[in-house]
Amino acid sequence: MSAELDELYQSIILDHNRRPKNFREMEDATAKADGVNPLCGDQLTVWLKMDGDQIADVSFRGQGCAISKASASMMTQVVKGKSRTDAEQLFTDVHALVTGKPTGADVGSLKALSGVSKFPLRVKCASLAWHAMHSALQGSAAPVSTEAEGPGSAS
């Protein structure tokens, strides 16, 4: 296997895929949003429980590839307890990371997603949950689609 594929599917990604964190519905959520990736028909839902401006709890469920599932799982770990502004900033930083434009910001364990930048078609997978979280924070009711993201599309 190529080094680039090894970097994409590093063990932390595979672990999150096998045993995703916060992989559950949330009954007392204050916001939720659905995300779909038309490329592969993947879909997931992100739930948020806001405490004022803080993300008190976050969870997700859905169908997806290892990259989208691991990214969602890591996202729930990282944004829990963060403020709305910090969570949005993380989304911006992660998006820059997976599109190969790292800002130098410290994204901690999310660095494991950097391998995505060598595979432009997988940017949609890595950012699906983040788009959904962003949408939930905005209080948008419409499902988000990754179609506007990166090259390539479904048929």
Partner: protein, 425 residues
Amino acid sequence: MNRPTVGVRSASAAPAGFVADHGALAPRADFPLLAAQPRLHYLDSAATTQKPASVLAAIQRYYETENANPHRGAYALSAVATEAYHAARVRIAKFLGASDAETLIFTRGTTEALNLVASTWGRANVKAGDRIVVTRLEHHANFVPWQELAHAVGAEFVIAELGANGTLDMEAFAAAVTPKTKIVAFGHASNALGTVNPVADIVAIAKRVGALTVCDGAQSAPHMDVGVDSLDVDAYAFSGHKMLGPMGIGGLVMRREILEATQPYQLGGDMIAHVGDQHTTWNVLPHKFEAGTPNVEGPVGLAAACDYLTSLGMERVIAHERTLAALAMEKLAAIPGVSVLGPEIAHRGGVVSFTLKGVHPHDLSQLLDGDGVCVRAGHHCAQPLMRALGVHATTRASFYVYNDGADVVALAESVARAKEKLASD
């Protein structure tokens, strides 16, 4: 990689592995892209095929020696371009087994051909309370246009369900085709599962109630001796790029009396007989349905592709694909966790769709790509079918004339390696 060229199938009749050295039907050297990438295992021909040098040369030759706007100029070069366009139509119709070449309408491909039927004949003839029947196997291109037509006119949209192994339940199909049914739209062969439908049975049932029969031939024209006349369908749609031709060309073969009684699809140049200040009359077939300057390089290239396929022999093409598909089904099924979807080989073409337990098809295809194995992952533009199968996506390998046993072996080995890396413990 040690790749056999035009190989000879082993005479041994051993049940397993005897076709692993099965050679390609078409020399890889005929395909510039494949020749330049000897380690590529291109197994996505159901999506689009690679192009032989003769097709590329025909397009180049057209532009270098024959190019002008057909049907327009009085000058000799325009007549040459017109003749090139006409000759290509005749050649392609002959390949498809359509005796009346003027009933072959060129379109961008199958999708546009099906939309043409839905938006012209469909809009004019399907009324509120009527019924449109499709099958669970359909590609979105032969599903969504009919679904939308039904919504627009208030007709009932009915999906004929599957029986065992991804084949159509013919009893359920017959029951679905009521006297109210105006259109029966079905694929000749499924792009997602490879299932080849029993066209004669479907047409017989549809004819009992006088429904228009629309056959999506995107996955049959490239692979078998179709014989459109003998199918006895009212409309047959196909795509050139799936049969060694260029992208952006395909067509619709439709019964002459229906085309003549149907309003045109698009309006503009070339499709008119006379334009008055208030009223316009239509040109004869096929021009009535081909508004604007046509795509000439497309038919010219596709005609060369038809020549190439004819030289191989369509009976040998389908036999070759089935040999490789059968080998793939056997080798994949031997990997624990792999489920091969769809019917037994007798009811399918060269398409093998499968799932691997605990591994998402998108990840699997990414790892396969790392081994130079190109397969399709996803819903294959057949979400209604995926729902019925209870899967979100599958991985699909599809075989064509340039594939050989080594491609199948590479596929199976790569799937086994990917499983080691990705599968849950």
